[in-house]
């Protein structure tokens, strides 16, 4: 197991990350418009001074090597847009909000999604199944930028139960609506995957055998069906977890949450190269890490994989 972890996290992850950094570094520089292009163009001399301050006056390969050297020391560089901060400062400050929001949404999505999926599978082709899957379908197609203002309208403006936005360090009142918006999509996807895989498992010979032995449904479900049925869900959850905790652009910008999603979108729009690079590396690293975790979990849950 240790050998496996070492191989996944060191031998495979580091080269993957290096490729990611390299591609992103050059790709973002290909985007038209620079970090310092503005409506009122700066005189060339001012532009040169700004470029010199951020090493943009050097040849690109030199910038690249300089960036790698900084990166090796854990320094993601200064933000081109938010001049009072480094990328490290900003990401460090934004991560807790996204993480808190994402974790809440993730836990709710897993519990509700799995429960709904299992229920639908057990009552396959009944009205329960149809209504659960109908609601899930709406959840898959309903975009956040529609749901967020709709919920804010109902709960903040009409009913005045909850604030329409803000974060206040993640107080419960401020978390409810963003979590509701963020988790609905994941609930739907998890419910659909769980249902599909559960139906497949319930139809497999060993479940039939268990039924034939006269075991009660609840017991079969807990003991024999749930684990294999959750395998596809778990492989979805790895990348989904990274996606959900590294911030939703729409939810964060609509509700004014100071998280990573806002940093990312502003970074891209402002051509804040170090910010985009830093966040790409962070999200890349988390994705690699959680995919490895999923693989390990697979082994734990399904003995066939260990063989």
């Amino acid at each position: 197991m240790l050998k496996f972890i070492f191989r996944r996290l060191v031998l495979e992850a580091l080269p993957t990350l290096l490729v990611l950094v390299t591609v992103t570094f050059f790709l973002i520089r290909l985007a038209p418009g620079g970090p310092f292009s503005t409506e009122a163009a700066m005189p060339p001399e001012v532009m040169a001074a700004v470029a010199a301050k951020y090493r943009l006056d050097q040849p690109v390969w030199q910038q690249y090597l300089g960036y790698l050297a900084d990166l090796a020391r854990g320094d993601f560089g200064p933000s081109f847009k938010y001049k009072d901060f480094t990328v490290n400062d900003l990401v460090w400050a934004a991560a807790p909000a996204s993480f808190r929001l994402g974790l809440f949404a993730f836990v709710i999505a897993v519990i509700v999604g799995v429960a709904a999926g299992v229920t639908a599978a057990l009552r396959q082709n009944t009205w329960i199944d149809y209504s659960v899957m109908g609601v899930a379908m709406i959840g898959v197609v309903l975009p956040n930028f529609v749901l967020a203002p709709a919920l804010a309208l109902v709960f903040a403006i009409w009913l005045k139960w909850l604030p329409a936005g803000g974060w206040e360090g993640g107080k419960l009142m401020y978390v409810v609506l963003p979590v509701a918006v963020l988790c609905q999509h994941y609930i739907s996807v998890i419910a659909r995957i769980t249902r599909g895989s559960m139906i497949e498992v319930l139809g497999s010979p060993y479940i039939r055998t268990a039924r034939a032995k006269g075991l009660p449904t609840g017991y079969i479900l807990r003991r024999h069906a749930l684990k294999p049925a959750l395998l596809p869900v778990i492989s979805y959850l790895g990348p989904a977890f990274v996606g959900i905790i590294t911030g939703s652009v729409v939810v964060e910008s609509f509700f004014g949450i100071p998280g990573i999603g806002q940093l990312f979108v502003n970074g891209a729009l402002n051509r804040d190269y170090p910010m985009v690079l830093g966040l790409t590396i962070l999200i890349g690293a988390l994705t690699i890490f959680f995919n490895a975790v999923v693989d390990i979990l697979y082994g734990v849950i399904d003995p066939r994989i260990r063989l």
């Binding site: 503005t38 001012v46 001074a49 010199a52 004014g256």
Partner: protein, 541 residues
């Protein structure tokens, strides 16, 4: 250094201009027990360091926390700030400012002329990499301002010198009559040298930052809020009413609107009126939509490097065809006014010109446009085909569609609308990769030159590449003309040339537009759109 006696004292100017300054609460007003306000700021500021300000989001916050030599009153007039009076010397080639003795930093130390000298030199220093480094040289004409930016002389040679703690001498390259107007700019604030030298780039953090304005920084969460509290050391603190102000950097206008409707916000950012919700606003909260004319113009520019836009007949025809009233009043409809000149009519020191074609009816304009287009050789078999470039935005799209329809009315005109994301758009425009392109130009200070200089052949943002030596000469002449009437006449001449050469088709003048709760009072109608919290108060509600 003592002021040399031989300097001729030409005008002993100003001080104590009338104008509302600080909150003027009418007697008998019932104030709310809690004087706190939450305001939109449009977007997260790039920095809280005033010398590095890039635009509105930064300079509006700088003006809350800092005070320059001069300051805008509620209607945008320039009134004394830290300087209590000033006088021009040597025929306007030098200006001496006398600072008030009771101006203090938030740490209690006095604000001195040395602080201004330090701040101005810091701003032009290429090492600071300020995006407004050019301003003191190009807009204010301070001696060596441009040469320092170009790296030809060291920042120490800037024409700004503290004569003693209370007197600042600003020397110019040439006399500039409107110097004082340019000094109200948000980037020209004094900064605390000791604090900056101690903390470097981190001096703007809460707990470290020291400022000299009505408010001081209390808390900052990037992309969530910036909280400021009253600065008890501010010289006019007794006249400040609001104790705490929170700025929310909400980019998404619909989100800002929802927060406003849920009472999470007392005032949206300038421009914070989402067009999609305009009907609802007019129906449900019409009195909370507050608008007034702004110093800024929305227009289309023609690229002189692309045929057939080198032909004045084509440019003129397209400009005449635009139904400006329809666009300003019907399509946009939040207090914008149709534009026939680049300079907005409310700019200080400007007497609007009425062009001959402006008096014509729309039908007459369209007839003339048809004639011009035919004369330029465009027919059904050889239509005028071009691309109209704008940055991606629903409002710009609506206007572009309307313009394309208006152009089709005057003959064989085929317009392809091209939209690009903001930075890509700026890049295309700067590289001249456009035929006709959307522009907006908003004043840096209240004086026509901030608008008209754009079409000077040497201006960095003149992406049309319009080049008329006569126009350049007029703008250079205006700069050194001290008589206000003569200057106004020159600006009129400049507008007349633009209305002959048509490097642009003016569309509308912007409006300042915000949603403001009825209990917020004290603001005026600053044409530059500033509403400073120090002037506000909250009614009981």
């Amino acid at each position: 250094m003592r002021m040399p006696q031989r300097l001729a004292l030409i005008t002993a100017a100003v001080a104590c201009l009338p104008g509302v300054f600080a909150a003027e609460v009418p007697p008998g007003t019932q104030l709310h027990p809690v004087q706190e306000i939450v305001r939109g700021n449009g977007t997260e500021p790039a920095t809280l360091d005033p010398n590095k300000a890039e635009g509105r989001p930064e300079s509006s916050l700088a003006l809350e926390m800092f005070e320059g030599l001069v300051s805008p009153d509620i209607n945008g007039n320039v009134v004394p700030g830290v300087a209590e009076k000033w006088e021009s010397l040597e025929g306007g080639r030098a200006w001496r400012f006398t600072l008030r003795s009771n101006a203090r930093w938030s740490d209690g130390s006095p604000v001195t002329a040395h602080d201004f000298e330090y701040a101005f030199k810091r701003m032009v220093d290429p090492k600071t990499a300020s995006q407004y480094a050019w301003y003191l040289g190009k807009a204010s004409n301070v001696k060596n301002g441009t040469a320092i930016v170009e790296g030809k002389v060291p920042p120490s040679e800037l024409g700004v010198k503290a004569l003693d703690d209370r007197h600042l001498l600003i020397t110019l390259e040439q006399p500039v009559a409107y110097l004082v107007a340019t000094l109200a700019h948000g980037s020209l604030m004094p900064v605390p040298r000791k604090v900056i030298e101690k903390y470097g780039d981190r001096w703007t953090e809460p707990g470290k930052m020291v400022s000299n304005g009505a408010y001081k920084l209390a808390e900052r969460v990037v992309n969530e809020r910036i909280v400021m509290v009253r600065n008890p050391m501010y010289w006019n603190n007794a006249k400040t009413v609001i104790d705490k102000v929170t700025f929310l950097p909400i980019v998404n206008q619909s989100a800002e609107y929802q927060r406003y409707r849920a009472n999470g916000l007392d005032m949206t950012a300038d421009g914070g009126v989402p067009p999609e919700q305009l009907k609802q606003i007019r129906r449900e909260i019409p009195s909370e939509l507050v608008t007034w004319p702004q110093l800024g113009t929305y227009f289309y520019a023609f690229n002189f490097r692309k045929k057939p836009f080198d032909d004045v007949r084509v440019r003129k025809a397209l400009s005449l065809a635009l139904q400006r009233e329809v666009i300003a009043e019907k399509l946009v409809g939040t207090g914008e006014t149709p534009a026939y000149s680049l300079t907005p009519p409310n700019a200080a020191g400007y007497v609007p010109v009425v062009h001959e074609w402006q008096r014509w009816t729309q039908a007459q304009r369209e007839n003339e446009a048809r004639r011009l287009l035919a004369e330029a050789g465009f027919t059904k078999t050889r239509p005028l085909r071009f691309e109209l470039l704008y940055n991606t935005n629903e409002n710009h799209k609506k206007i572009a569609l309307a313009a394309a329809w208006m152009w089709r009315r005057i003959g064989p005109v085929e317009v392809v609308l091209v939209n690009q994301e903001w930075k890509s758009f700026l890049d295309s425009r700067a590289r001249g990769e456009f035929e006709v392109c959307r522009y907006s130009w908003v004043a840096d200070y209240n004086e026509p030159s901030t608008m008209l200089d754009l079409f000077h052949s040497k201006h960095g943002s003149n992406d049309s590449k319009y080049n008329n030596p006569r126009y350049d000469a007029i703008m250079e002449q205006a700069k050194v003309t001290s008589d206000a009437n003569d200057r106004a006449r020159l600006y009129q001449d400049a507008e007349r040339i633009l209305a002959q050469d048509f490097p642009l088709a003016n569309v509308y003048h912007y409006s300042v537009r915000r949603l403001i709760k009825p209990w917020v009072k004290g603001y005026g109608r600053d044409p530059e759109g500033r509403i400073l919290t120090r002037d506000l108060y909250i009614l009981a509600h």
